[in-house]
């Protein structure tokens, strides 16, 4: 099964009634078990694109579709930047939310809930409310909630951008471990180039005004352990290559504030 994003455009009308093109002519596909990272400077429309793929926004033109599904409705797991856990539900109740809504049996809910809470390392916190957790633990719960429905496509919108640098590094490592166990097709959005190179099979670089695909870079490094010494040179080359592509746009973006 692959997910195709075909000729997607998105235009907004801004506060001054001018038409703004956020995305223009976006074409790419996410293959089965592929980890695709969208990277770009702020204002390049990467979150907009993820929202369109996630069915939370409609494109002005073009379409997003699943190819090769056996007519069942594909399900999507989304990990939000704002985490968006339900504050009145405990960790366990949050994680099984999607299962509850899909009508899974109580027993299935319990099994899968426990399984994915274990996987993200939140055992023992099942009955805690989100308010009682640290930022990193909240995002773990958010990831477990998305994994629990065993989605056909996992969408992650800058999931670690609100975390401190240390927690972020740990979460990136753990995400890879989890991904390695589940092998879900994933679309991941970030503005952090190191993160993109560390996680991606393929990095899609977006430019801004309008948001277009500037380049697609396949990361030819083993999926696990890219931070090892032996890969450091090539890792830095990838980072530099992407930075050169984004630099000009990023400078412009920072001047606009």
């Amino acid at each position: 099964m692959r997910i195709v994003i075909e000729n997607v455009d998105k235009t907004f009308v801004d506060a001054k009634k001018r038409e703004v093109t956020a995305l223009q002519n976006i074409n790419f596909a996410i293959e089965q078990q592929e980890f695709v990272v969208l990277v770009g400077p702020s204002g390049c429309g990467k979150s907009t694109l993820l929202n369109i793929v996630g069915g939370l926004m409609s494109p002005s033109n073009g379409s997003v579709y699943f190819e090769g599904t056996d007519s069942k409705k594909p399900n999507l797991g989304i990990v939000f930047q704002e985490i968006a856990l339900f504050p009145w539900r405990t960790v366990y109740e949050n994680v099984i939310y999607g299962l509850e809504e899909s009508g899974a049996s109580k027993q299935e809910q319990q099994e899968k809930g426990k399984h994915y809470i274990d996987m993200v390392g939140l055992s023992g916190f099942e009955n805690a409310y989100p308010k009682q957790l640290s930022g990193g633990m909240r995002q773990r719960a958010g990831i477990a909630r998305a994994l629990a429905i065993e989605p056909d496509l996992l969408l992650m919108d800058e999931p670690f951008s609100a975390l401190d640098a240390q927690t972020r590094t740990i979460m990136q490592e753990e995400l890879l471990t989890i991904w390695d166990r589940t092998r879900l097709s994933t679309l991941y959005v970030t503005h952090n180039i190191q993160e993109a190179v560390y996680l991606a099979d393929r990095v899609i670089v977006l430019s801004r005004h309008p948001g277009q695909i500037k380049s697609t870079i396949r990361i030819d490094l083993p999926k696990i352990g890219r931070d090892k010494d032996e890969y450091r040179m090539r890792f830095e080359q990838y980072v530099d290559e992407i930075w050169q592509l984004i630099r000009h746009d990023a400078q412009e973006a920072s001047r606009e504030g």
Binding site: F80, A84, F86
Partner: protein, 264 residues
């Protein structure tokens, strides 16, 4: 250099963390009651105008034992309980619908806001005309008075639900009904309770007013009755009961809020 000068830094915002002893809460009220008692004992104010607290308590006890209070209290409790339950339930339901659907919001909100500022007691004669002189008009006027603060608070609670949470719920497969039940309702509960507390005061006010205007029984009519007879001690017993009723009402709501909103 042993005699070097020291400048110790002290916490300059210590006043923010001042500890208050637990008896402080009863201090004010005790002093007030004692002063009141002294003023009455010294007969600075004649007992007809202001009976002593001990006299009120004694009269209250007597009325309780003789069962005189019982009928009035039950009549009042039934009215306020019934009216409040009806008004609050309708208020929450309408508030949720109004907040969720843009159509009902656009059509009904102007109506709600134009009826809201009317002092509901002004509608009592009309409601009596419609519903007769039994229990119904009293229940209706209380329900009406409770409905508006609850509906408006629920509505603004719904409007303030983080749209991210609704998006999250929809992503994980919720239909509209479940979005309301599992996201919008719990997220608005804190605001709903603010409305319920506001409405508790309103309902008490309307209960007493309605009973004073049109009732043979109830705390309100009892207060009016003893006022006409100039039996101030028994009048004050009625006032005391109303104060206790209000306090209990608030306590029950607080308890319920802690039960239903444990995640705040």
């Amino acid at each position: 250099m042993p005699d070097k000068q020291r400048q110790v830094i002290t916490n300059r915002v210590a006043f923010l963390e001042t500890k208050i002893p637990s008896y402080a809460a009863v201090l004010g009220i005790t002093v007030l009651l004692v002063l009141w008692e002294i003023v009455c004992r010294l007969e600075i104010v004649p007992p007809l105008f202001l009976p002593a607290p001990t006299a009120i308590l004694a009269a209250g006890w007597e009325m309780l034992v003789s069962g005189e209070l019982y009928e009035d209290l039950v009549a009042s409790l039934l009215r306020i309980g019934g009216g409040y339950a009806v008004g609050a339930s309708l208020g929450i339901i309408f508030g949720l619908i109004l907040g969720f659907s843009r159509w009902t919001d656009a059509i009904l909100t102007p109506i709600v806001y134009s009826i809201y500022p009317i002092p509901k007691i002004a509608l009592l004669p009309l409601i009596i005309l419609w519903l007769g002189i039994g229990e119904m008009p009293k229940l209706a006027i209380i329900a009406l008075g409770v409905f508006f603060p609850v509906v408006i608070n629920t509505f603004s609670g719904v409007k303030n639900v983080d749209p991210m949470l609704i998006k999250a719920a929809v992503t994980f497969g919720s239909n509209h009904f479940n979005v309301i039940r599992k996201v919008i309702l719990p997220a608005s509960l804190p605001m709903i309770f603010a409305g319920l507390k506001l409405a508790a005061g309103t309902s008490l006010l309307l209960l007493v007013s309605a009973e004073m205007i049109a009732a043979q029984q109830g705390i309100g009519s009892m207060v009016l009755h003893y006022g006409n007879l100039m039996i101030t001690t028994k009048l004050m017993v009625g006032v005391l009961v109303l104060s206790l009723l209000g306090l209990t009402f608030n306590r029950v709501l607080q308890w319920l809020e802690r039960k239903l909103v444990p995640w705040k």
